[in-house]
Symmetry: C2
Subunit: 280 residues, 2 copies
Amino acid sequence: MKIIETIEKVRREVQNAKSKGQTVGFVPTMGYLHEGHLSLIDEARKKHDIVVVSIFVNPLQFGPNEDLDRYPRDIERDERLANGAGADLLFYPSVDEMYPVEMPMTIHVNKGVDVLCGASRPGHFDGVATVVMKLFQIVQPTEAFFGQKDAQQVAIIMNMVSAFNIPVDIVICQTIREEDGLAKSSRNVYLSDGERNEASFLYRTLLYGKELIENGERIPQLVLDKMNTKLQSGSGKLDYLSILRYPSLDRPEELNGTIILAIAYQYKNARLIDNLILEI
Amino acid sequence: MKIIETIEKVRREVQNAKSKGQTVGFVPTMGYLHEGHLSLIDEARKKHDIVVVSIFVNPLQFGPNEDLDRYPRDIERDERLANGAGADLLFYPSVDEMYPVEMPMTIHVNKGVDVLCGASRPGHFDGVATVVMKLFQIVQPTEAFFGQKDAQQVAIIMNMVSAFNIPVDIVICQTIREEDGLAKSSRNVYLSDGERNEASFLYRTLLYGKELIENGERIPQLVLDKMNTKLQSGSGKLDYLSILRYPSLDRPEELNGTIILAIAYQYKNARLIDNLILEI
């Protein structure tokens, strides 16, 4: 695996591969890799000749009160893990390489940002869209791989690809779960034993909502009310429980087409998110 | 010359050419072609295997009080002219093809929009940047050709290419002029005989400013004051006279590097713009 720090060099490597007819799978990350990321690299490895992983903690998507400086980093471990999972190129640019001057323009997201995690993070998805647009232009991959766990981010990136006609295909990979169904996350280690034992009820609640819909319930509020009742038993605090169209993130009056059931739940030292996407 | 109305088809044609190692020159226009556009097509023809011209009157760059519906159109004449100038593909999409749904996100330009023509057209360059980003993603040209006459537009597009690392090179083509120096424009026909005889003083004033700087003047305001005096003799009304860094469009305290002298001048039925770009 080559470690590359400049835009010019990663572009040259990828173009070189593409000129030989090779396909390129791309996994953009902020580093501190966990099993979710590794499953994306694995999926890209299965489908493409060349796998590019990027590690860049993007300042643009952190708000003024968010802890950019304390975001966890461990590049040596990440190198080992990315290499082990089958990456060919690790693109690891500095902030100066990505933003040599203040951005004279950014992507401004108008739709799908006032719901789910976006409601409490104004400007966050502008920063995400802007850096992903840059990374797509730099790497020019055949396909890019994202985890369904970050469903709002994936929706906005799918909408961006479609809105700007970006020549890349987006692949959504399944959320990786513990045996009891809890979605894997770096944050799970911050759960107390009691919280950890309880936490899989979030996934079970999503499955319950899915079952209600599969059994014919078509009114979003009625599904939400029943799911909410289940969530009352938890020892943490519900941040949101939502049913939206996917990937438009519009609120449905009636349930049909592709929809997402999404939960964010706050424990003492960890905020957990999870979701299911359903075709009705 | 092929006339193509869909994104899918123009992309297929261009990718087919690129897969054979051919280079692609791109001239984006809003149609109603004049000699300026034809000189861009001519330049692209000299340098590239395939020349793509787009004609799309972009609703996103017209303000609510601007006359999108009355913007001049003559597609039959444009087809003839583009073909005569050597275009291979004329991409002529409908508004529905370019914007099948309302854009869920757009490019928002933060810098270089409160000066020159941008000062009186809020949001205009957001619309320009957004459609040019789409066109670049659709066509994926090797080089794109723009006329220096629209210097602010070119600056913002150059800044966009740099900010988002878009893999396209921008070529700025010289302003085409009448024998007396007046910049060619579709709008010149709206000038009265007296105005037409006078109008080349705009270009002469730019040359005068250039001479002052070449003779060693480095204080922008002193150059502007002397140019302003020259412009007093005109029968129309000065809209703006500016000296800015190029392409950043920052105001310089002292003249060095690359700068632009730019004029907009209002006659009774025509607003004329012109500029010079200088290396100091």
